[in-house]
């Protein structure tokens, strides 16, 4: 399977462990990635907070570049990027004048596709049966709290993926890998997202609640599919614990880490050794 690939800024920045993980994991599943040539930032929260037009134009430029490369599917492993791409695409699909205007703004013809996929959808495309048969090292000791956060499932009118309140798609994947996901209450609560720098306390409070809820329900790790969630729950885990006056020791895995480890890849090959919290204590 060959997919268009829009890494987004985080995966080429401090979340490059996520890119290492998904490249290693998807490589082992014969999924090849065609990176969009000269992609630009989607604008993220800053654009949709301060300039509505920019929040459509920046993702639209990337949709146009994907179209130029003849890609009809585009894998965006960051849910912020993926939501912004979908939002722009839908806004222009509903309004031909807007499409013309944005097309002039970004100096490129904007195709009506391409389809935007998140990481979970890529694994669904590979197929749970195929994953199951490819497992070499079942993750029988892992009890992950599958954490979806916000933008993988919200707003459902835009992302149209799984159930917005009680998603189960990640649980289905980790179960196929031999893990035993826990039932818990914070799977779609917000971790504080892009406020890590601007409002650190918000992130510590929200992420702390999520980590505490995972522990209370018997999880021994978290599974995520978002670079920002990983930063807030892994890098900020020590601070969040101190903020709540407690201690956490909860490794936070990208979903591709778990698939990769079950396929027999080493933690080092997946970049798991580069996380802040690793199994058996802080790194």
């Amino acid at each position: 399977m060959n997919l268009g690939y829009y890494p987004g800024c985080a995966l080429h920045g401090s979340s490059n462990d996520y890119e290492q993980s998904l490249r290693a994991c998807l490589g082992a599943l014969d999924v090849t990635l065609a990176e969009i040539d000269d992609w630009i930032c989607c604008g993220a929260t800053s654009a949709h907070s301060l300039n509505h037009k920019l929040a459509i134009a920046l993702p639209a430029r990337n949709l146009a570049l994907a179209g130029r490369q003849g890609l009809d599917e585009m894998f965006a492993p960051c849910p912020m990027c993926s939501m912004q791409l979908l939002r722009a695409s839908q806004a222009m699909a509903a309004d031909a004048r807007l499409r013309d205007e944005i097309s002039a703004m970004v100096e490129a013809e904007i195709p009506s596709g391409p389809r935007v996929l998140n990481l979970i959808q890529v694994f669904q495309r590979v197929g749970l049966d195929k994953l199951k048969t490819a497992v070499k090292t079942p993750l029988k000791d892992l009890k992950p709290a599958c954490y979806y956060g916000c933008l993988l499932v919200r707003p459902p009118t835009v992302v149209d993926f799984d159930d917005a309140e009680q998603p189960q798609s990640m649980e289905a994947i980790v179960t196929a890998l031999g893990a035993k996901p826990v039932a818990w209450g914070s799977k779609t609560e917000c971790c504080g997202a892009g406020m890590t720098m601007a409002k650190a306390e918000t992130v510590l409070r929200l992420s702390g609640r999520i980590l505490a809820n995972a522990v209370a329900h018997g999880a021994n790790c978290l599974a995520v599919a978002c670079p920002m969630c990983h930063v807030n729950l892994d890098m900020k885990q020590g601070e969040a614990a101190a903020f709540l006056g407690t201690k956490f020791d909860l490794p936070v895995y990208y979903l591709s880490d778990l698939v990769g480890m079950a396929l027999g890849l080493s933690p080092e090959a997946l970049g798991v050794d580069r996380h802040f919290v690793v199994a058996g204590g802080a790194n």
Binding site: N16, W39, C41, T45, N51, K53, T157, G194, K199, L206
Partner: protein, 191 residues
């Protein structure tokens, strides 16, 4: 009563930016009930919408709460009347930013969003180190807070050890087109 100065009434601008009908809201309070940061808000989402329905956009535009919002989309998802509440908060932020009616207490968040966009305008892709320096510098010029300036400085060596620190940063090749997109959005961005 529409009290905000400006060519177009703020409420109609907010409706057009967020593509939503404020009159649809029947004040059930579900948006506030599910909001992860409502406890910290001076005016929670349900009341922000009510203020807009009553035409008091000034109070809504000055609220701290529009900058407390983490854009988690829970309010929009749970609204029984399909009001895009998170979209309304986006529109309020944009107008407050454009009209300069920012709550002084929330200036830091705005400085971050501005520094982020400025970074993208110049490079096409985010340069994290430069963003941190620009944001911290801008906050320091306003607040003169040394603890804030050096907060997180201890993370740098830890990130470097994990090969997560990139001093150079990536750039898009065609930065000209990025600059032109930003210029065009600045000209017609509010509409």
């Amino acid at each position: 009563m529409e009290t905000t100065s400006g060519a177009e009434p703020a409420t109609s601008q907010i409706e057009s930016l967020s593509r939503t009908h404020l009159a649809e809201c029947y004040q059930c309070g579900k948006c506030t009930a599910g909001c992860p940061v409502a406890e910290r808000m001076d005016i929670p989402p349900t009341r922000l919408i009510r203020l807009l329905q009553l035409g008091d956009s000034d109070a809504a535009l000055r609220a701290n709460s529009i900058w407390q919002c983490v854009s988690c989309q829970t309010c929009t998802t749970r609204c029984p009347k399909s009001v895009d509440c998170a979209g309304v908060l986006d529109a309020l932020r944009q107008l407050a930013f454009e009209r300069g009616t920012l709550s002084p207490a929330e200036r830091r968040t705005v400085l971050f969003q501005k520094a982020f966009l400025d970074n993208i305008r110049r490079h096409g892709r985010l340069n994290e180190i430069e963003l941190i320096a620009a944001f911290k510098g801008a906050v320091f010029l306003r607040d003169r807070s040394l603890p804030f300036l050096f907060r997180d400085a201890g993370l740098a060596p830890q990130l470097a050890r994990r090969r997560k620190l990139h001093l150079a940063g990536e750039q898009a090749k065609d930065r000209g087109v990025v600059a032109r997109i930003f210029a065009r959005a600045a000209n017609g961005g509010a509409q």
